[in-house]
Subunit: 334 residues, 2 copies
DNA sequence: CTGAAAGCGCTAACAA
DNA sequence: TTGTTAGCGCTTTCAG
């Protein structure tokens, strides 16, 4: 079974390769008769145009790469699924192809075969980003707002989101508001903490030293911080955790200590991951427009590739506080 | 800024294009001196070989496509993340590229640019599968065990898994075991129900008509079935739900009805999704080797593409029952 | 509306 | 060890 190329089809249809090419590419200047003959030949021979040859000849490349750092934990899984949903939508709408690369950090993949790159976060992929930028390949970074580099970033506004959480809690009458922060080596973690600090300050609420604890977003990492907070003489009436996992763990610790949630303790999470709704106490948390981030990123990348955008774009999308049942007004506590 | 091709580099390095090609492709028969000169020229000119030209000339294609049906619900998200983790690993190990296509069902994507296709389930993608098989493109289907078609399938052994659930429950002393099945139009749903039925029969336990209820895997879909089961005069002491979401909902309904879990009702789920561990009552459920499925699929596909495999492979991977706190021995109930 | 011919950038014999 | 020379399969002028 020999391979069928455009010439075979042309021969079978009794036309030139050019005409076949025209039919394939939907160029209108082909007589209906020829078009039919070509279409028939294509079907009969099961002809499939060679994409490499196509791209080579037309000098085009419509595939973008997306690099995703290690999927380890649940947060990343949820984050990635949501992001991918948006990216998938965008890619489909713009008729692009998506080359996926799940990286463990340093494996260099064939970024060369791609017209643009999307970094789903870059924690651990800094060198790859550098390389891509160095090569002048258009790229967009999501979830990681990089102020220093002239690169496009699409992320969620974590700072404002955290401020809103504190505002919400304060409106409920809370003043003893503690936080369990996430990793402080990434912008996300830093911003969530800063938002808390800023909002507290804005309301002239004192941030007692032990009110700022740290975890790493994972559930177990919040166990100790939560215990410290809740067994302290001066315990908070509300805790803002930088992830839903940590919030859920916090609730568990509280319950284990004989505290009632939300009666004795209000808890707010971040992410609105699936566990939030199913948790022992349905969690009030921050929803992020992750799939929008994905879709927008593709759009921006596409423009970048098309040269329709000269300067890097830096965008932050808003979040929404979703109220469930883990918070309560202080004056109802008694 | 003109485009740099291999000829430019050759000129700059004072060698032929062939030599440059050799250096790029790590062909050993190049003098150290020339190699260095080429490398320098490459760096100075920021030369990046054109992947299309490369593939065209070498007649190779090392990218595989993965098509993922609509991500709608949580189950799919979790399923996809896990699968992708495995696929990512496999692809990296085998030095393949991964073209991702998230489909809403019928959009035809550029499967032509790919040497093999992985279908992450095919619910709703039947025509695409047909087309790919028709074109003779190697492919592997996961999660969906297709007996009728000569196509490779890698899936989880749902039948045995369900049998084991019933066995587990029976060993705990339960005889009044009901089930809330999932979609019965896909093999997964059917197998989970069949496993239940088969195991019940094997133990000579009567399956009362109302003991077989149906949902669609989603949490809300189990609400009515659970209520029917639990408000029935002849209510079961154990319920096996075909998904964790449905199991969690079942627990909620039971709790709402004043039943205790696991004291008055044992519940088993399926998937071991993240919500299982965080649920109100930590859920005993079935863990599936999803990432292994992904990795194995890539391996099989690679062999298929390399012609190292003539017949389609049909493999079922085993599951594991993970015990948490939603089940209890019947004789402890009183 | 159609076709001949000139590449697209690279690889792979084949010589040297 | 190196270079010459054909293509790889398709698109795209440019005449007709």
């Amino acid at each position: 079974m020999k391979k069928i190329d455009i010439a075979e089809v042309a021969k079978a249809a009794g036309v030139s390769t050019t005409t076949v090419s025209r039919v394939i590419n939907h160029v209108p200047t082909v007589s209906e008769e020829n078009r039919q003959r070509v279409l028939e030949a294509v079907k009969k021979l099961k002809y499939r145009p060679n994409p490499s040859a196509r791209r080579l000849a037309s000098g085009q490349n419509d595939t973008i790469g997306i690099v995703i750092p290690r999927f380890a934990d649940m947060f990343h899984s949820f984050y990635v699924s949501e992001l991918l949903k948006g990216v998938g939508t965008g890619v489909e709408r713009l008729k692009l192809n998506l080359l996926l690369h799940v990286t463990d950090g340093h494996s260099s993949f064939d970024l060369s075969s791609v017209a643009g790159v999307l970094f789903a976060d870059i924690d651990g992929n800094e060198e790859q980003l550098d390389w891509v930028m160095d090569q002048g390949i258009p790229c967009v970074v999501t979830n990681h707002f990089i102020k220093e580099l002239p690169v496009s970033c699409i992320a969620v506004d974590n700072l404002t989101a955290s401020e809103q959480v504190v505002a919400y809690l304060a409106n409920l009458g809370h003043r003893e508001i503690a936080t369990i922060a996430g990793h402080l080596r990434t912008p996300v973690g830093i911003e969530r903490l800063e938002g808390y600090l800023k909002a507290m300050k804005a309301r002239d609420i004192e941030v007692k030293p032990h009110f700022v604890q740290r975890g790493d977003y994972s559930g177990p990492s919040a166990r100790e911080p939560a215990r410290r907070l809740l067994t302290h003489d001066d315990r908070p009436t509300a805790i803002f955790a930088a992830s839903d996992e940590m919030a859920v763990t916090t609730i568990e610790v509280a319950l284990g200590l004989g505290l009632r949630v939300p009666e004795d303790l209000s808890v707010v999470g971040f992410d609105d991951s699936p566990i939030a709704a199913f948790a022992k106490v349905p969690l009030t948390t921050v929803w992020q427009p992750l799939s929008q981030v994905g879709e927008l990123s593709v759009e921006v990348l596409d423009k970048l590739m098309g040269g329709k955008l000269r300067r890097p774009v830096k965008t932050q999308l808003g979040t929404k506080l979703v109220e469930r049942q883990s918070c309560r007004q202080t004056w109802l506590e008694h």
